[in-house]
Symmetry: none
Subunit: 198 residues, 4 copies
Amino acid sequence: MGEKSERKRQYILDKARAVFSEKGFKNVTMKDVVDACDISRGGLYLYFSSTAELFLAVLSQDVSEDDEEAVGAALSGDASAGDMLALFIKEQKKEILRKKNNLTVATYEYFSVNKVSAKENPLKIKFDTSVRIVEKLVENGVDAGEFICENPLGFARNLMYVVEGLKISSNTIGVTEENIDRELMYVLEGLVPEELNS
Amino acid sequence: MGEKSERKRQYILDKARAVFSEKGFKNVTMKDVVDACDISRGGLYLYFSSTAELFLAVLSQDVSEDDEEAVGAALSGDASAGDMLALFIKEQKKEILRKKNNLTVATYEYFSVNKVSAKENPLKIKFDTSVRIVEKLVENGVDAGEFICENPLGFARNLMYVVEGLKISSNTIGVTEENIDRELMYVLEGLVPEELNS
Amino acid sequence: MGEKSERKRQYILDKARAVFSEKGFKNVTMKDVVDACDISRGGLYLYFSSTAELFLAVLSQDVSEDDEEAVGAALSGDASAGDMLALFIKEQKKEILRKKNNLTVATYEYFSVNKVSAKENPLKIKFDTSVRIVEKLVENGVDAGEFICENPLGFARNLMYVVEGLKISSNTIGVTEENIDRELMYVLEGLVPEELNS
Amino acid sequence: MGEKSERKRQYILDKARAVFSEKGFKNVTMKDVVDACDISRGGLYLYFSSTAELFLAVLSQDVSEDDEEAVGAALSGDASAGDMLALFIKEQKKEILRKKNNLTVATYEYFSVNKVSAKENPLKIKFDTSVRIVEKLVENGVDAGEFICENPLGFARNLMYVVEGLKISSNTIGVTEENIDRELMYVLEGLVPEELNS
DNA sequence: AATGAATGAGCCTTCATTCAT
DNA sequence: TATGAATGAAGGCTCATTCAT
């Protein structure tokens, strides 16, 4: 029955993700998840024994999916560096705007209370991965004559901190799609004298 | 007794700020505040009837103080634009690194769950104020020949989103003082071909 | 209001004693006590935060009362050793037979799980005290020519172990008043060739 | 399959005995037994449907085994009454001191809450059996001129109540082997003017 | 016979909130 | 104003018991 129970575990994770997305981390109770899953209290405890355990399980799934996507995008070597960077940024934009299943707030809440070592902090791992991808893309673009950039790493970090700023702002003070476009465009203008379309 | 009760209200706010700083928003109970203030439960309710009310009161005070400081700094016209910008950035850096009385986490927690209209969102008000200050300083600097900048508003927004990114990162993935300096420096380099010291 | 709350504490202890007497220790829940006291759940927690804490409070009261009684009985020097021993044994008999407020089982349950050092074990303290009282009474009786006994300490210990055996038997296999009389008489016959009435 | 299932029933009883010995009665859950037996929850319920049923089954086995041993010892007519009594007492001492598979606490817990008729109370049956054995041995000893005793039944009851007192004390206030020897010796001295070694 | 996932009742504990003083 | 005892709702967790397979 391992298969069946694996399916249920996945079912719970999916429902829980929606709950965390809606309520953040601290506001979520086991009862919330029980209600969302429409199972019994005891039933949930068979699979997860705390909201923290549940959240980390949701998150770890999230991170691996994201990594695969990101790496996949970055490795598709048949496109120009500019196109790939545009694609990468499109993904970031999508995530900033995402309403459903957006774990940003829950994640920030969780990791601002539960400190983990940098090596194991999935938020940091994801951030650093993104920085490296952008850096690499820019270097490729410079090599290909598409971009002009003296400090690809600095550029990449600047871009990703702006993305972080936009993400949190999106969940607190609110940002429109136009806001995001304008900000990302502003950063990208640093790469070339001419314009670049996202 | 208005004066006396005003003093007590202020006393409660000061104690509560420390509590929110330490525990975020959701984890704070009225009992925590009661204990911190060493007053009675009923006594606290005479002044504030929920942690949300308390938090907003703490925050509004925070925002107005910050505004005053910021505006004060920006208006002290006896310094060069560059010096003033350096001062402003120093303040931001201090806030990013602040351990004591740091309401960042509590604030994000609160406003990501409790949506308020943009007009009344103190986080948004503060962000917009900061953007305007930076924009003005840069314009002044350009006028005075200190800076070169074609888009002061864009620059200001970019700077403030990076600051937001650094703030949240400081509470989640951790940033060192060197990280902050490097990022802010990267942004400021956009203002001039030469270097500028924070 | 310390006085009032002290009265309530006492009220809870009295009700709790009845509950422990009826159900032993492990079978008692905080809810049982809440129901017996007809107060709110939270209300009980203001005074005691676990059944163990409650039980120890009940017990400590019990022990000090018992000690006073016992010491009082033993010190009333205006009676003969025989009369005093008879009185002491009457007390033991009363305790063995006691239905209401009988903490024997709860006490055995508690201390068979929660080991405490001999020095602090009220059961042991009580046992040893009783042994010493009996020993002293017998010595006095021997001196006064009332009893014949070569080993007062051995006699005292034998008596008290029989009492212990009767106590536990009373709560498990059941003993009648006749059983008790017969057993105690058997022990006492060791003191004198003639009979002695309880 | 009756044989096979009988073997499994026995297996469960053996494991359960260890659990009751370790945790008493009330603290034992069906889950504890399931874990100890390494069988399924449902599987256990096929054999026993509550901890009470399980406990009584463990106990009845215990009692019958004990009885057989005891009766066996008492009937082995090839030894002197003194030797047999010494053997019997050695067994009691072993049980008082036994750490593993000691059901004393669980038994007292169970029967102090769950009252059963005297006829069916295994504790009472066991006690009475022991009394009768001792009585018989003493009578034999008196007949053989080994002992002097005017009241063999009184002696037997006294001995067994002391044993009960020692058993409960062993689990609550603690007794050393020396304590036990001394007490039993004190009782036995009543049988003869000379000493008798256990 | 045997399994183990699932249920739901029950107890534990904490807190926001009220109210008599 | 101020106190703090008291309440009861809410959520956490465990376990006996059932049942489809």
